[in-house]
């Protein structure tokens, strides 16, 4: 089903305003100034999507020549947090790394960070090239388009700023659409949105219900933390990792604005855990999903069973696992950021026991 514009659907309480995103703001030489940092995703033609979580918007940055440093690829950097902090004139404790994305063309790494921990923290986008050059991308010199994320306005416009804030947890671009998973600080439901790129309007979001097999109920009250687009039997799907940790597939064609749909829970990967990042890769003729987690390591999951796996409908008690099989990758610990560097390697930012974060290339398992 085609996605429909929000204007036909949005019904707001209290003030009756229709949530239509403002027209794209295209500026030739005066670039965006971000309010906050957030996830990254590469789109077509060296466009880098940046979720400006504090600004409740997504910026599509046209990197142009900035997509590549002097050397293709990405070098490993020990203590990347300390290194970035030193370049930005502060201490590693003042640096928060939001996301890592590899350019499909230059294979340089782009890292979204915040400098500072206060309300005035400054978002910074950095590029690491194959010769260890770490450069700040001067985004204010780049062309961009942007789209605001719908936010229900406060009932009382005279009150101070609307305290509701949305946080984008992950984004992915596929076939002219940017998919966006997000949370709010006032509701607990997961929200998946899609927007056509080039930007027109953001839709109202599809509330997604899943069978949480550890729980035994259908629920909307669980946030999506990471997802990837993936074709199953010729149909575009999203594979999503939820808190505590169902793995769920949705057909993209089912994502209808304003609708509630049921995803198919293809695995229950364990409780007390938050998935962080996932990528799909091919090895020896087989596709695998590689997923990093807060407390259950990095999982390697063959995708061969995704299409045929019947949805889990029975509770999985005691924090156990069920559904498609997976293995936990030895030796990969503390992985906080993950992306594919090339056909055989992933690039990770992993924190060791001393708290040091290293930018490291690892062979795909």
């Amino acid at each position: 089903m085609p996605l429909r514009p929000i204007s036909a659907l949005a019904v707001l309480v209290a003030v009756g305003v229709v949530l239509v995103a403002p027209p794209p703001n295209l500026t030739a030489a005066e670039g965006p100034s971000l309010i906050g940092g957030g996830p990254l995703a590469f789109g077509p033609d060296d466009v880098l999507f940046i979720a400006d979580n504090a600004g409740a918007r997504i910026v599509a940055l046209e990197l142009g020549d900035a997509v590549a440093g002097a050397t293709p690829g990405t070098s490993e950097i020990e203590g990347i947090d300390r290194y970035i902090a030193a370049r930005l004139g502060t201490d590693a404790s003042e640096i928060r790394i939001h996301d890592l994305a590899i350019s499909p063309t230059s294979r340089n790494a782009f890292i979204s960070v915040s400098r500072g921990r206060g309300a005035g923290a400054t978002p910074v986008l950095l590029r690491v090239d194959g010769a260890s050059a770490v450069e700040v991308i001067k985004i204010n010199q780049l062309s961009f388009t942007e789209i605001s994320l719908p936010n229900v306005p406060a009932a009382d416009p005279a009150a101070r700023r609307n305290p509701r804030a949305s946080s984008v947890t992950d984004m992915a671009y596929v076939d002219g659409q940017l998919f966006i998973a997000g949370l709010s600080n006032e509701e607990f439901a997961s929200k998946l949105r899609s927007v056509n790129y080039p930007f027109t309007t953001a839709n109202a979001g599809t509330s997604v219900e899943i069978w949480h097999a550890a729980h035994g109920r259908y629920e909307t009250h669980s946030p999506v933390y990471t997802f990837v687009p993936y074709e199953l039997d010729g149909e575009q799907n999203l594979i999503a990792g939820y808190l505590c940790t169902p793995l769920v597939k949705f057909a993209v064609s089912d994502l209808e604005p304003g609708a509630k749909i049921t995803g198919t829970t293809i695995a229950e990967l364990g409780n007390r855990n938050r998935p962080i990042d996932m990528v799909v890769y091919e090895k020896d003729g087989q596709d695998y999903l590689l997923m990093s987690n807060t407390s259950r390591g990095v999982m390697k999951i063959p995708t061969a069973g995704f299409g045929g796996q019947p949805g889990l409908t029975e509770p999985v008690p005691g924090g156990g696992t069920a559904g498609v099989t997976f293995e936990t990758v030895d030796g990969l610990t503390g992985v906080e950021q993950l992306d594919l560097l090339d056909d055989t390697r992933a690039l990770v930012i992993a924190r060791d026991d001393t708290g040091r974060a290293d930018l490291t290339a690892v062979q795909l398992p």
Binding site: V11, V13, A86, P315
Partner: protein, 426 residues
């Protein structure tokens, strides 16, 4: 003008640092001329070190580092040389001094721009210097353009600069916690902490604990969402109880049991070390006790709401009373009033009576006519129950209806996301 690496008065609150003293010592040894370095070391030694001075210039966000004492010829050569940032940073290198003063020789220079002005070179950092942080500044004359090569060059001049750190004056307090009442259900979903001033972007869970009636901390009561749920002003922090400890059947609940037990009293404890946006701790610790009632799994029912309708021509409050406390943030955001012409009624919205009451005081007098109270179905009670939808209810049937729908049914579903309660003002 001083003729040494000594800082001038424009850089207040600078402390001695071993780096600086060591560098001066090396310089003195190389030349044997004490602090005044202008005269060089004689014809057989290295070319003389210019009489330079390093100083912090400007204040606050516009602070930078200046190098004074180069000759007009040297400054002219620098201005003409169009040095790359790499070469500039070899000549005048600014690096962060780690808080623990650990070896920082492997640290890269701070990013910034270099300009040559009338009588000085200025380094302006790309991001403002942090107040209170020390920055090492090293001038290495060997990289000065046109400098005569020599087997031995004077050792670099190193100094340390820092902006004064504002005094630690804790003034921020926890103003309110919602729910504001002293009783919450066993399956309470979230808490809101309101601070009197913007807070730092840190993981608040490190500063929050829940203690049982024996004063023992409850293990992992809150959800480690990994995103800091601040409002845009960083004054309100949202805490979610771990649904694994609320919902029946999730593993954490089986292992740890419910975080809250009905009939018991728990105390939310806020550690005053929680830094505000200025990096200062809170003025005082904060505690709020809660008595725990039975779990609430009943959906909201708008038929139970009671309205006290004001009279036409007045600006009296419209009062809506609920049989139970509702979520404070959602009350403020998802409830409103519109007039018969569809226009929203603007005014002051307040909650009261431990969030069992919502009031609207209009900016302009009520008109005689039909009004509607409008509430979004995203409105929740303390346990996350919504209109016609309990937090734990099985929604399979409704999901099937929604996904089977054609476009028109989807629109109806969207229209059904609000409830309207009409009333007449006379």
């Amino acid at each position: 003008m001083a003729r040494s690496g000594k800082l001038r008065a424009s850089a207040p609150a600078v402390r001695h640092h071993p780096l600086r003293d060591q560098a001066r010592h090396v310089a003195i040894t190389a030349c044997g001329l004490g602090w005044v370095l202008a005269t060089g070391c004689g014809s057989d030694g290295p070319p003389p070190l210019p009489p330079v001075e390093i100083q912090l210039a400007g204040s606050g966000d516009s602070a930078g580092v200046e190098l004074l004492g180069l000759s007009p010829a040297e400054l002219g050569a620098l201005g003409d040389a169009r040095l790359s940032d790499d070469v500039w940073s070899q000549l005048l290198r600014v690096t962060v001094v780690p808080p623990d003063k650990a070896d920082a020789s492997d640290l890269p220079p701070v990013l910034g721009s270099y300009t040559v002005e009338d009588d000085r070179v200025r380094f302006t950092p790309m991001f403002p210097f942090d107040p209170g942080r020390e920055y090492a500044v090293r001038f290495d004359v060997a990289h000065l353009p046109g400098r005569e090569p020599a087997p031995k060059q004077p050792a670099p001049v190193v100094d340390v600069v820092s902006l004064p750190r504002p005094p630690v004056e804790p003034t921020t307090i926890v103003e309110r916690v919602y729910p504001s009442g002293d009783q919450i259900p066993e399956n309470q979903l979230r808490l809101y902490l309101h601070f009197s001033a913007p807070m730092s972007d840190v993981d608040g869970l490190e500063y929050l604990s829940l203690r049982d009636n024996r004063g023992q901390p409850v293990e992992d009561p809150f959800l480690p969402l990994g995103l800091e749920f601040w409002d845009p002003d960083h004054r309100r922090y949202t805490v979610f109880f771990d649904p694994g400890r609320i919902k029946q059947g999730l593993g954490t609940n089986e292992r740890l049991g419910q975080a809250l037990d009905a009939g018991q009293t728990y105390t939310l404890v806020v550690d005053p070390a929680w830094p505000d946006a200025e990096g200062n701790p809170l003025q005082a610790p904060f505690e709020k006790p809660f008595k725990i009632g039975a779990a609430d799994t009943t959906p909201l029912d708008s038929d139970t709401w009671r309205l006290r309708v004001p009279s036409a021509g007045s600006t009296e409050r419209l009062v809506v009373s609920f049989p139970e406390p509702l979520d404070h943030a959602l009350m403020l955001r998802t409830i409103g009033v519109e007039f018969q012409d569809g226009e929203a009624v603007l005014g002051r919205v307040e909650t009261g009576s431990w969030e069992t009451r919502w009031t609207l005081t209009p900016n302009t007098p009520w008109q005689a006519g039909r009004y509607a109270l409008i509430a979004g179905t995203t409105l929740e009670d303390l346990a996350g129950n919504r209109m016609n939808e309990a937090f734990e209810i099985d929604l399979l049937e409704r999901v099937d209806e929604a996904t089977a729908g054609e476009a028109s049914e989807v629109e109806e579903l969207a229209a059904a996301d609000i409830v309207r309660i009409e009333f007449e003002v006379q």
